[in-house]
Amino acid sequence: MSEFEDRLTRDLAALARHRVSSDQPSPPLPRPVRSPGRAPRRLSGWWTPVLAAALVVIVVGAGWALTRPTGRDDARPAATDSATPSPSSSAPTPSVSATPSVSTTPSATPSATAPSTPLPVDPTVFRFDGVGPLRLGMSSAGLIALGYTSSGPNSFGCAQYFKGGAQQSLSVIVDPVLDRVRSIGTLFATADYRTDAGIQVGSTEAEVRAAYAGYQVQDLLDRGFGQGSSGLLVAGPRSYLGFTIVDGAVAGIEIADDPDFATNAEVSCTGGGQS
């Protein structure tokens, strides 16, 4: 753990203690209120197995009806968002599927209406293959040659590089084992960067869709707890362009060589990490 991580651990503990004192008494444990006359939730009695058997018959019958051959080739269910229920819901666990809730598989072949790359070396322009002189796949040596420095190995297996201390710096994620850039993204919601299709922080979701109309554009749902779309993923020829969407507008931009990332650019580094 780095010195900053140690400091963060201490500061968060101090902040938490400051906000909620250990002396603060806890209120009484709340109890669920059940309406008078409401039917008991737990099934019991001799008729329970009978009801269960009837349900099995119904489910099996319905399953047979749904899965019998129909002559169509779309019988495979589409990926759906498995939103986690709220704490008051009846689901047993709050965990959710980490599979992006997209309805289509990204196509790596854009159409002829793909945006052009007017300024390939502009350091503020995101392209599918990089940002300015930065390129997906380049080595850490290449990054260092461009003036980027590593923030050191972190606890999660990824190496991160950025340039200087400016808050406009880009975050560059490097796989430490493969020694190649996997992702490049904005650290803050700054309008200093844009894509070669003209999308920048503040652009609307509709503008993103219009700008990348020739591409496969996926909704990336916030799979945490079913709060709706939180990003758009545009499939490029060999990489992916992700937009963080907050309140209907772009709040962050990143590119990655792997489709398995969400609005915060999920890239699984192969280096070892603590867990």
Binding site: L8, D11, L12, A16, S88, S171, Q227
Partner: protein
Amino acid sequence: MTAQAVVDVDGLYAREWHALVRLAALLVDDVPSAEDVVQEAFLGLQRNHARVTPGSELAYLRASVVNGSRSVLRRRRTARNHQPPEPEPVNGADVDVLAKAQRDALVSALGALPRRQKEVLVLRYWSQLSEAEIAAALGVSAGTVKTSASRGLAALQLRLEGRS
């Protein structure tokens, strides 16, 4: 069985209430809301206790607290435009000015992070959860935890060191 379950929840409540309220207080910006979130989490646990895997009650509560904190922030979103006010009470003449400045800076820097990065950092560095536990609590993959932590940590460091 039901009586035992109630006893277990009581014990969990006694042991974990402060920690969970502190977790919520780091995710939302005021203690009363944090307490409400935790109360709701325990209510949810009691309603669904029979269907929660034995031994995973605390994980369920943490996830519920994160979920509830998100709901609180979402309700406030339009009013505060993502800039949480610092509700620090005035403690009088003996307040440690330096410590307060550090807290203010941390609160501000945390508030400027994207939600997921903030949640990951709080769960990692305050709740001391493992990568797998964070992934389970947030309902995301381990890869998301890694990159959210990496980016969040870097952004936080830049902001804090820029202010100090």
